[in-house]
Symmetry: C2
Subunit: 336 residues, 2 copies
């Protein structure tokens, strides 16, 4: 074998025509049509067990946008692009992915965070808002869900509570929300204080639309950190990304899973560099302190983490490194 | 938030009973049954484009076995286990995965390597031999396949040429095999020389069973390295793992994919440590030289690699490191 380069590897690419080769095979019908390409991705779900509990990871999809120059608020774009390139990730168009999960404890069928909702299908031209459709591919009936747990009140986590016609997406479910988060976004004084920020004002408006809906409002049950939300799922206060952000620990037997919400955004930027501040962090200093505390724990305990913005299927283990942390994405298992 | 440990995180786990909480929700039917767990993994396929060519990655499954002490022939087991543990991978039971692909160039529908075949379902108790079933889940009809390309003559790559009843799995396909590999395994002199090795003797026997089958034999077309096998798919000689091992380059427009076969086994052992010799390498020195040459090229050209024993969906980019290479698994895209 001579030295391999793209040129030598592809050097033979024009030496033979497929048509000429096809003529050699007498057992093939000359009238057989070429097979059409399929043009559709596999359904976006993945399953694993945590002890006796079954977790279904169900993607809401992706939104692709031009990397904002302030995506990492405290780091120059060139530095961010360097890190993306080093990980073979596009440096111009950012793929923002959204991955709710469904937890079946054997007693409760629980959705954690909800994606953009069907309305998001239209605004994203079909790339996001697919949680409900993918749930169906995964064999899960929204009517069978008895509990929805919300980590925090950003649109990609709460908008999926409503269908496109404004009916509730999970009609038989209690909607468990972090008490502090709910209080903040429903507080008129806080809303008026935030009116100077277009983004915050928009979030207040969106949260009033969602949680002001009477069918949502009557299902809402605030939860407190440190307490079980349902049997086997415990809330953990992880403020910073939003002021009342909570994560959850799913446990069964001696196995545990940390469902982090947005403690970090994509791991290849924000776990590797815990001091980097995502532009959407409401209190960046607190978010960083939370991130370091949670990731120190994940590394020390070798506890698996499920990350809403991690690449699908969005589950990983965390290693502590001299400069931060490194994620080890869980290897796909072809069986449960 | 106080210091996070498994204990404090789970401290609240016994404070409330789910049943008591459920009683609060008057809109829920008390007679509603608990949702059963689904207990089935997602179908194991994944799609992407290489230029205008559509690639479907279709898993054959996994075989789990106790890590053999000589798995890496020239490295002590303890060193291997250390590397596995550092990557959060089980150190006792090894998950050996098998991932053929299907390439639709628009003109040809091509299967590259075939897995264990249906007979493997029985011997693996269902965990492997699932390529044909997963093809069906992926919407691909084996009868529409016009070309099967084989990288080398090991059972996990060639056994899927036959169905359980010994009929051909791809009845309308030419079977393209590396000329040197085919000659070696069909040569009686080589077979007799190899009779002292139980493993080699078994391989000769298996290859005579497969390629001696008249329906297979009449479809076999040897291919030569450096030449196109079908339009857009070029053979590359990558000897060592077996004496006539070949890889393939799929190209369309200015995009290319290196389909490596077994140039490395799992990347987290053998790409990270190119000097480590897999127990199944027939010529370990040549295999290592090939590995270094191919991986230097992949890193220099930033060419995507599809690896038969990589974790599903088994596609990655390769970075050169001071001690070897590091794989960057391709991020799952929820769209094509």
């Amino acid at each position: 074998m001579s030295q391999l380069t793209r040129r030598t590897v592809l050097g033979g690419a024009v030496t033979a025509s497929a048509a000429a080769m096809m003529g050699e095979f007498s057992w093939m019908s000359s009238a057989r049509a070429e097979a059409p390409q399929i043009g559709k991705q596999a359904p976006n779900f993945y399953r694993y067990k945590v002890g006796d509990t079954e977790v279904s990871v169900v993607s809401d999809g992706v939104v692709r946008f031009k990397l904002p120059p302030t995506f990492v608020a405290n780091v120059p774009t060139e530095e961010v692009k360097k890190q993306l390139a080093a990980n073979f990730i596009d440096t111009e168009i950012f793929n923002n992915t959204y991955t709710p999960i469904v937890v079946n404890t054997g007693k409760n069928l629980v959705v954690i965070d909800t994606g953009f909702g069907e309305a998001g299908i239209e605004t994203s031209k079909g790339t996001a808002g697919n949680f409900i459709n993918n749930l169906s591919a995964a064999g899960i009936d929204p009517k069978a869900v008895d509990t929805v747990i919300i980590s925090h009140f950003h649109g990609d986590h709460v908008n999926g509570l409503l269908r496109k016609d404004n009916s509730v997406a999970f009609p038989n479910a209690a909607i468990k929300v972090p008490a502090k988060e709910h209080k903040y976004w429903m507080d008129d004084g806080e809303m008026s204080k935030a009116s100077g920020s277009e983004r915050l004002a928009g979030l207040f408006k969106n949260n009033r639309r969602i949680f002001g809906n009477p069918e949502i409002a009557k299902r809402v049950q605030p939860y407190e950190p440190g307490k079980e939300i349902v049997s086997g799922i415990t809330a953990v206060e992880t403020n910073g990304h939003s002021l009342g952000h909570n994560s959850q620990v799913v446990s069964s037997g001696n196995k545990s899973l940390f469902v982090q919400g947005d403690v970090t955004h994509v791991p290849y930027l924000f776990a590797r560099n815990p001091g980097w501040h995502l532009m959407f962090d409401q209190d960046p200093q607190q978010a960083e302190a939370t991130r370091r505390k949670v990731y120190d724990m994940l590394a020390a305990e070798k506890m698996m983490v499920q990350g809403f913005h991690y690449p699908f299927p969005a589950a990983a283990y965390i290693e502590k490194t001299p400069t931060g942390y490194r994620e080890h994405m869980v290897q796909w298992s072809s069986t449960l």
